[in-house]
Symmetry: C2
Subunit: 184 residues, 2 copies
């Protein structure tokens, strides 16, 4: 099925995107990331490779886009206070990012077009904003979400990308407390 | 000049590596990063492409290795006190990392073998350790270098990799002060 027109408009475009994302999800369950190619994805999704190249440019950008789509947030768990909310969110996020799939995703996202990495960063900030807003409604003091990004997310991602070992959960909790201490 | 044996031992190996790194430095002055290929580098360095593939695996890893080599530190400037030393180092590092060459280097390093990114991280930590050691000798209180990595380096690199805009120098100085405040 060759789709050569109207790729960016209306329901057809959305269906094409969904079929391509679904093809990637399926292929990642069956194959190693390094062996997946644009023609494989196109064949599974029932589109031509040129549809993919025209829309995403290259394989890295396509995989990054699909990964960010999978990242779409559930609302963070509400534990009833800011510190527990942040600990719970951080534990989950560390698990996700430090998994083999998470590390591959980060490399795809960082290596792809800037819009994809900034979409990824804003999903994370939005989740932290939900947690902050809840705390403020409860009457708790809370740092701005941007401060939490620098204090918690940045060290985690830096160390996963640049070190052989991810930070421990204990270290992550200490980083949370360091940041909260400045806003008591 | 085909070099097929002894690539990892002795002076010959070091000379080959130096000629390849020099070829990359020259080519980066003349060409856009995206147009540089392994055969171009091999031709300029007077080696066969297979010498490069055998030793570095792929272009990204080779460029990352050469970039880390260029990064080799001069000793950080000594301003006579910890805060000024950190501000001076941070200003220079932000300039380097936020340049077009710095951003390309980061993408190569993050996309390459883990050993290269961890080498890169340890050069940075060693520079901060020099600054911390100087402060302790002066009798100043100082955070461990690892704390400075999390507080200063991680947010800078995260925001350059994931946001459209790098942090401002003003914001970086605020991050330095936040960290120093915990160690007064």
């Amino acid at each position: 099925m060759a789709i050569k027109e109207g790729i960016r408009t209306g329901g057809r475009s959305a269906r094409v995107q969904e079929s391509i994302h679904a093809a990637i999800r399926d292929l990642l369950l069956e194959h190693d990331r390094a062996t997946i190619s644009v023609p494989m994805i196109a064949l599974r999704a029932g589109v031509t490779p040129s549809t993919i190249y025209r829309r995403w440019g290259d394989l890295t950008s396509l995989l990054a886009d699909a990964a960010v789509e999978r990242l779409r947030p559930d609302a963070p768990i509400n534990c009833g206070n800011l510190r527990d909310d942040l600990q719970s969110w951080t534990e989950q996020y560390l698990d996700d990012m430090n998994s083999a799939a998470g590390r591959e995703m980060m490399r795809d996202v960082v290596g792809s077009a800037a819009s994809c990495s900034s979409k990824c960063a804003s999903i994370v900030r939005d989740q932290l904003q939900i947690i902050v807003d809840r705390a403020l409604v409860r009457g708790e003091a809370a740092p701005p979400a941007e401060e939490l990004v620098d204090a918690i997310v940045a060290p985690m991602i830096y160390r996963i990308l640049y070190s052989e070992a991810a930070p421990t959960l204990e270290r992550m909790f200490q980083l949370i407390d360091n940041c909260l201490d400045r806003y008591r």
